[in-house]
Symmetry: C2
Subunit: 328 residues, 2 copies
């Protein structure tokens, strides 16, 4: 009988594949199953020997899985799967619709309490590690201001918005933080920054045959919420260039807390990420929190949790004594 | 009757004064007493109205204090005070002798359990926030390497070492991280860096009348542990310049985790601090963890804890629901 933490994946897209490869680096955990809404027979995993099952049969595996990592999207998958699966399994997910977190937390919490399970929601880097750094910044330097910058990185939401514009065949959008704004924040001057001053948006667009470039550009530049409040640049490229040059999913950003202590001491805290692969990094954070979810479950805890509720030590495979000796 | 968390300070040096001023920014806490080994009548606080008592009488105040913040030094004060006071009060301290953490933890843990108190040890930025970032880095990116750089900052230990050299009247030492080494780490190349490659040491020394500059310089450059393994620069300055230009206590540094996920995606996590006042920042961290110590005590927990054991949310005056809504 295995003493490893038995992990299963629900949903095998970019995140699910990232979880699968992150688990190859964690000797205390093993992947025991992947659940999919597609035809299981048609799914080829990176790692051999791990069974793929239909999502419809997931209830049969309640006793075979210690933690289920939910790898669906926040828009339609998780609002339904999150509560349903937290009633059956300890879960970890990356729900990232900031505005809907309170209602999602409440739904998952009720389901997890009913099933006596632990569900860690909104894990990743934002929400996730960035949130933790916003909290540490505010708690340590109450007289201060917090700033979050994103990028340079590919924004899935904004790329989707571009693809909905009539005349667009394919597109990607990069969010680019303003280096000048970052330097102003790092100086300790606590500037008030407008949306336009913090980030610019760079669009690479493939036109459909016969589409009017200037009409497409105008539709993009004036799109409310997504582009109208930003300095946005639109480049038209070929379908081949899109495939060749824009297939990677880099991202990153900064959380900066600028505060004052004593009479006038400027104190700056900064956390930054520079990621070649946004989904693989998010998956790696999910896997670390799966370890914490397992331990909380072992301790008899039930209900929904966020990264704010989880002591750092629970993420590490090392014992508390090892951590004190090696990392403190 | 007050509903604020009642904080007391044991030891009124730089750290104690920093705690006092940090408490002015935390409406949920109040400073109720300062304890000193000096003559209480001779101690003038920054804030009026707070009583100063002799350390010898501290046992009389067990019921008047929710959390006692220990502001003594790690070399001689805390090894004795830490366990003794953790038997009587919930405590927070900044014990920073890395090699002695396991033995200090054991002593404080036994005392705190005996007294049914919570004691949070080794709080500050290193150990403290830097330790947390080393842990998050290692847990999220197990295939990777961690790097800690310190400075530019005034090192108290190295300044003390300079002052023990015969012929030295006064001195300060700045630790300076190598920008080239930092850039190599940020590139994701995971370099192996020698001690000499990571930091340089800059000494500003005031000679005693009649001292031989070259003898003093040689004694410094060849001092084992402190300077011999570094590229060290010695500047001789006047007593007036020392007072005028080197009275501040800036510090800071970086914790960088360079890891790989998937096939070959480079992922970089970086946490950095740029501090005008090292002691004031450490004090601000101590105050945030005093809030956590109070809450753990309220929950009935006992024993020693480190920053690894404390969920981020416990540091914030906000409720869990507020944190989810505002910061997640």
């Amino acid at each position: 009988m295995s003493s490893k933490i038995r992990i299963a994946i629900a949903g095998y897209g970019n995140l699910g594949r990232g979880v699968e490869s992150a688990l190859a680096c964690t000797p205390d955990m093993e992947l025991v199953a992947v659940f999919t809404r597609r035809d299981p027979a048609g799914l080829v995993l990176q790692s051999g020997g791990v069974p793929v099952h239909a999502m419809a049969r997931i209830e049969d595996f309640v006793d075979a899985v210690d933690v289920l990592i939910l790898c669906g999207g926040s828009k339609t998958d998780l609002p339904e799967q999150g509560p349903a699966l937290a009633a059956l399994f300890n879960t970890v997910d990356s729900f990232d619709t900031h505005a809907k977190v309170p209602e999602y937390f409440a739904a998952v919490d009720a389901a997890a309490r009913g099933g006596k399970r632990v569900a860690v929601i909104s894990v990743g880097w934002d929400p996730g590690l960035f949130s933790i750094n916003r909290l540490y910044g505010e708690a340590v330097l109450p007289d201060g201001a917090s700033y979050t910058f994103w990028g340079k990185g590919l924004s899935q939401g904004h790329s989707d918005a571009l693809r909905r514009v009539p005349g667009v065949q394919g597109a990607v959008q990069y969010t680019i933080p303003s280096q000048a704004a970052i330097e102003r924040v790092r100086s300790g001057s606590r500037p008030s920054l407008t949306t336009r001053e913090k980030h610019t948006r760079e669009c690479h667009v493939v036109l459909e045959a016969g589409a009017d470039p200037s009409a497409v550009e105008q539709a993009i530049l004036t799109m409310p919420d997504y582009f109208a409040d930003y300095d946005t640049k639109v480049n038209f490229i070929s379908a081949e260039a899109l495939r060749r040059d824009h297939a990677a999913m880099p991202h990153g950003g900064f959380v900066i807390r600028s505060g004052t202590t004593g009479v006038a001491s400027s104190q700056i805290m900064e956390f930054g990420l520079k990621l070649d692969s946004n989904p693989e990094f998010t998956s790696s954070v999910l896997v670390a929190y799966a370890r914490a979810a397992f331990r909380l479950g072992q301790q008899g805890e039930v209900g929904a949790r966020t990264v704010f509720d989880i002591a750092p030590g629970l993420l590490s495979p090392k014992s508390a004594a090892e951590l004190r000796k090696e990392l403190l």
